[in-house]
Structures are given as structure tokens and as C-alpha cells.
């Protein structure tokens, strides 16, 4: 992005304006483009899609009235939330209560600085990219704890403290699961990690060795817990804690919590795509047009990232909530030791095969494909035996 602005300045597009004035203006322009042109539409559409996907899984119809197929449902909800009264309870700690949603939105929007869209489209390729994401996402834990405490409500306090315990616990397996990839590439920059992979599945870090394969799923599970998603949604637990840390919130402040939750879902998917699925890598050589190439890369990256978002919706509609003691033992007794094993295993793997094993990636790709084929054969088997009205009909 910096070289692009430099090019514009050199070509004289800004006349005689000093570079100190051009840079901040362009930075704000691009940041607004990403936030208002990509993140907000994405979040509203994701919320709508999630409700539709749940509905299909639960044999319901879901929101389908606002706009074609109900796509504008998120926008309508947003407008409604802005028009609702904003109640701050008398007993609440007002400054903290008001500030908490800001931290959550900040924690997820700031990650988009380093999340790439294609080989050329990235806001800033920070050399500490992955570490920066881990650090800035932790802001949301502070936000949730602050919301829970400031509400001065027992439900909120329980939700906030549970969430803090859960988020800080799962940060450790998440951090440990990132380390194998950092070992393999020797860089923390998101673009650098993508460039170290290839377009083909056997060049992805997901299939590099059994250790990275396990690390990928350990990271995904930890990320689900960090974003308070089902089956780890005990901080919100509608059936026991009313709405958890968000109980006392109303109006647009309440909507901000949801913005942050579904936004971080895409952030999770994007990190998975960057670290383990080869990011925007596509076969090169078929076009010389940079614009076409970048659009293709953007599409590929988005699909890879959105696959994990879809998987989270699927999990949310399928699995029940786990208990708090199960959640803690899953983290400390399974994922943390597994993270250590992955770390050491990857290091040993690299000492034995510095350039990666020539055979194992192909074997793992074939194995994964076989699993997918078996799964779809099972699904088709059950679909053939299902009642005709339960057939997937996207037009309802």
C-alpha cells in the first residue's frame, strides 16, 4: 500500500501537496474503504447467512423478508438498534459501561491492518503481523470483562468473569498452535507466511506434516472459544445467564457486541487461511493482467476464509454447549499439552527434513480427500432416505 501511495505522489496526482499531508489522508481513505466497504457489509451479511443456515439445518425458513431472500436483514436490524432507547442502569459504573463496546469493536477492526486480501491488497504488511493479531484481539477480553463488571448485574458479572477465564485460557493453545507455522517460515508477516506456501494443497502448511495438521484444528477450536462461539458460548449462555455480559446493554451498544462477535469470526477464518491454507496463492502464468490476478486471488482468499466461517455456523447449529469444567479441562489438559507436542514435533521434523518431507504432504492430501468423500457419501445416503420435503431447497 505504501509503494502505491509513493507511486501516486511520484506521478504528481496530488500536485504540490506535501507527502506528510498525503499519507494520513490516503491512510484514512483506505482504512474507511476496508471498514465501510468490506467489513460492515460482510458482518451484516454473515449474520443474515448464519440465521439462514441455522434455519435450514433446523428445518425452518429463517429471515427472508427484507430485500431479496432477506439479505438486508442485518441492515434493518442495525437501523432498528440505532432508533432504540439507550438505557444505562443507575447502579452501573457509567464510564466503564459506556466504554466497553468500544474496546470490543477496536479489538476486531484493528486486526484488518494486517489481514491480506490479495498479493497487492494489504493495508500494511507488519513484520510482526501474527503477534500483532494475537495482541490486539486480547483487547476484546478486556472489553467483555469491563462490560460484565460495569453493569453491576449478577448475570453480567458471571458472564464477564467466565468469558475472561475462557479467553485467557484459550489464548495459550492458540498461541502455541501458531508457533509451528512461525517455525516453518521464520517470519511473522502475514504476506511472508503466504508466500512460503503454494497454490496446491500439498504446498499448504495444513498438510505439511501431521503436527501442523493437528495445530490447525487446535487453533480453530481455540479461536472458537476466544470469540465465545458455540460450543464455548458459556459467557453468553442464553438459557442460564439471560444474555451474559450483554444483559444490561440495549440499543446500538448491544449491536456493537454482535458486530464484534461476527467480525471476529471472519478474522478467525482469515488467520486460518493465511497460516494453513495458502492464503491467496493461485496458479500463476495464465494472465499478465495484475488487476485480474488480484481479483482472482481475492476471491480465492475470501472463499478459504469463509469456509471456516461457514464451519462455525454449522458447529453452532449442531453442537450443544459444553460445561465450564469440561471447557477448562479441554484447554489445559488436552490443547496445551498438544500444543507443546506440535511445537517440538515440528522443530524435530524440520531438523530431520529441512525442506519438508517429499512424500507426507501428498499422503495427507489423499487421506483428507478420502475422508471428505466418505463424509459426502454418508450425507447422500441419508438424504436419499429422507422425506422429499426435507431436500435442500435454497429458493424457499
Amino acid at each position: 500500500m505504501q509503494s502505491f501511495i509513493d507511486g501516486l505522489i511520484a506521478s504528481g496526482a496530488f500536485g504540490g501537496l506535501p507527502a506528510e499531508a498525503v499519507y494520513p489522508a490516503m491512510m484514512f481513505l483506505f482504512a474507511s474503504l476496508v471498514v465501510f466497504g468490506f467489513v460492515l457489509p460482510l458482518v451484516t451479511i454473515t449474520i443474515w447467512l448464519e440465521r439462514r443456515v441455522w434455519s435450514r439445518i433446523q428445518s425452518r425458513v429463517g429471515p427472508n423478508r427484507v430485500g431479496p431472500q432477506g439479505v438486508l436483514q442485518g441492515l434493518a436490524d442495525g437501523v432498528k438498534n440505532i432508533l432504540k432507547e439507550d438505557v444505562v442502569p443507575d447502579a452501573a459504573d457509567r464510564p466503564l459501561f459506556v466504554f466497553a463496546p468500544y474496546l470490543l469493536v477496536w479489538g476486531f477492526l484493528a486486526t484488518f491492518v494486517v489481514i491480506p486480501f490479495s498479493s497487492a491488497l494489504v493495508i500494511a504488511d507488519l513484520n510482526v503481523g501474527i503477534l500483532y493479531i494475537v495482541a490486539i484481539v486480547a483487547l476484546s477480553a478486556v472489553g467483555v470483562l469491563m462490560a460484565g463488571w460495569a453493569s453491576n448485574n449478577k448475570w453480567s458479572l458471571l458472564g464477564g468473569i467466565r468469558s475472561a477465564a475462557q479467553v485467557v485460557s484459550y489464548e495459550i493453545p492458540a498461541g502455541l498452535a501458531l508457533l509451528p507455522v512461525v517455525l516453518l517460515t521464520g517470519t511473522l508477516s502475514t504476506q511472508g507466511i503466504i508466500q512460503a506456501q503454494g497454490w496446491a494443497p500439498w504446498d499448504w502448511f495444513l498438510f505439511h506434516s501431521p503436527f501442523t495438521f493437528i495445530a490447525a484444528f487446535a487453533f480453530y477450536i481455540s479461536a472458537l472459544a476466544e470469540t465465545n462461539r458455540t460450543p464455548f458460548d458459556i459467557p453468553e449462555a442464553e438459557s442460564e445467564l439471560v444474555a451474559g455480559f450483554a444483559t444490561e446493554y440495549s440499543g446500538f451498544r448491544f449491536a456493537l457486541f454482535f458486530l464484534a462477535e461476527w467480525g471476529s469470526l471472519y478474522v478467525t477464518g482469515a488467520i486460518m487461511a493465511v497460516l494453513f491454507l495458502g492464503g491467496w496463492q493461485i496458479p500463476t502464468g495464465w494472465t499478465n493482467n495484475t488487476v485480474v490476478l488480484n481479483i482472482a486471488q481475492l476471491t480465492v482468499f475470501f472463499l478459504k476464509a469463509y469456509f471456516w466461517v461457514f464451519l462455525a455456523m454449522w458447529i453452532r447449529a449442531t453442537l450443544p454447549r459444553i460445561r465450564v469444567d469440561q471447557m477448562m479441562s479441554l484447554c489445559w489438559k488436552y490443547l496445551v499439552p498438544l500444543g507443546f507436542v506440535n511445537l517440538v514435533g515440528t522443530a524435530v521434523w524440520m531438523v530431520i527434513w529441512p525442506e519438508g518431507n517429499a512424500f507426507v504432504p501428498y499422503l495427507m492430501v489423499v487421506g483428507t480427500l478420502a475422508l471428505i468423500v466418505i463424509f459426502f457419501r454418508r450425507v447422500l445416503y441419508h438424504l436419499r432416505r429422507a422425506k422429499p420435503e426435507l431436500y435442500f431447497n435454497p429458493a424457499i
Partner: protein, 146 residues
């Protein structure tokens, strides 16, 4: 580098401004009719009993303590992980691997200690300490007064 960090600042400002502007705009549109009943704390419709700022279960603080130790450890491994590949290509792979193993070994001892002390258990059954067990045994031996 300044450009990159500048972008972080720009995004932070934008995130804060996004919330602030929408909430301020909403203030012009939304109703504002506070009344005493509406502003009470929600407690399933009953009048709330006491505040929520009370002493909280100690288990959460234990988790926080364990977290601090391991999170610092993860932060320390990151630089080693970044440098590992360069060392490997210099032919110092085994040396670096040994270093990582020693560092992790110390931490695994810590994890095993916490585990053995049963601080990872959420549902803890309090084991009586040796002194308590002895006093309990003595009390049971003492002849009942009156």
C-alpha cells in the same frame, strides 16, 4: 515501519470514531425517557437484592495466575521460533532444538506441577491436610464431654 504503525493508529481511531459517531447520531434519533423503574438492574423482574460487586470465586483467579505464566512463555518462544529457521540453515539446528527443548522442559514441569496440585480441576474436592486429618482423628478418639 512508521507507515505500518501509522495504519494501526488510523484503524484504532476509525474504530473508536465509528462507535462514537453512530452513538452520537443515534442520540438525535432515539427516544430518551428515563424513569426510576426502567433504570433498575435487571434481575428477572424481581427487585434486585444487593449489588453484584461482591467477592468472586477464587478459581477464576487461579486460572488467571496460570495464564500469566504460560502466556509469557508463549511470548518468549515467538522470537526463538522466528530465528529457528535461520539457525537451521546455518547448520545449528540441533543446538537450537536443544535450547527449545530445555526451555519447554522447564515449562512442562510447571504444567505437571499445576496439574498434580489439582489446580486445573474445576470441581475441586478439598483434600484435608495432614494436620487437619490428625486433629480430626484425635477428636474422634477423645471421650465425648458430657
Amino acid at each position: 515501519m512508521l507507515f505500518n504503525l501509522g495504519n494501526v493508529l488510523v484503524f484504532s481511531i476509525l474504530a473508536i470514531a465509528f462507535c462514537a459517531v453512530h452513538l452520537a447520531l443515534g442520540k438525535l434519533l432515539r427516544p430518551h425517557n428515563p424513569e426510576a423503574k426502567k433504570l433498575t438492574t435487571y434481575e428477572c423482574g424481581e427487585p434486585p437484592t444487593g449489588g453484584a460487586w461482591i467477592n468472586f470465586n477464587i478459581r477464576f483467579y487461579l486460572i488467571a495466575l496460570v495464564f500469566v505464566i504460560f502466556e509469557i512463555e508463549v511470548a518468549f518462544i515467538f522470537p526463538v521460533a522466528v530465528a529457528f529457521r535461520a539457525w537451521l540453515l546455518n547448520g545449528q539446528g540441533l543446538f537450537a532444538l536443544t535450547e527449545i527443548l530445555i526451555f519447554l522442559g522447564i515449562l512442562v514441569v510447571g504444567l505437571v506441577y499445576v496439574w498434580a496440585k489439582r489446580d486445573l480441576e474445576w470441581l475441586k474436592r478439598l483434600q484435608p491436610t495432614e494436620a487437619e486429618a490428625q486433629t480430626a482423628a484425635k477428636e474422634s478418639e477423645l471421650p465425648k464431654a458430657a
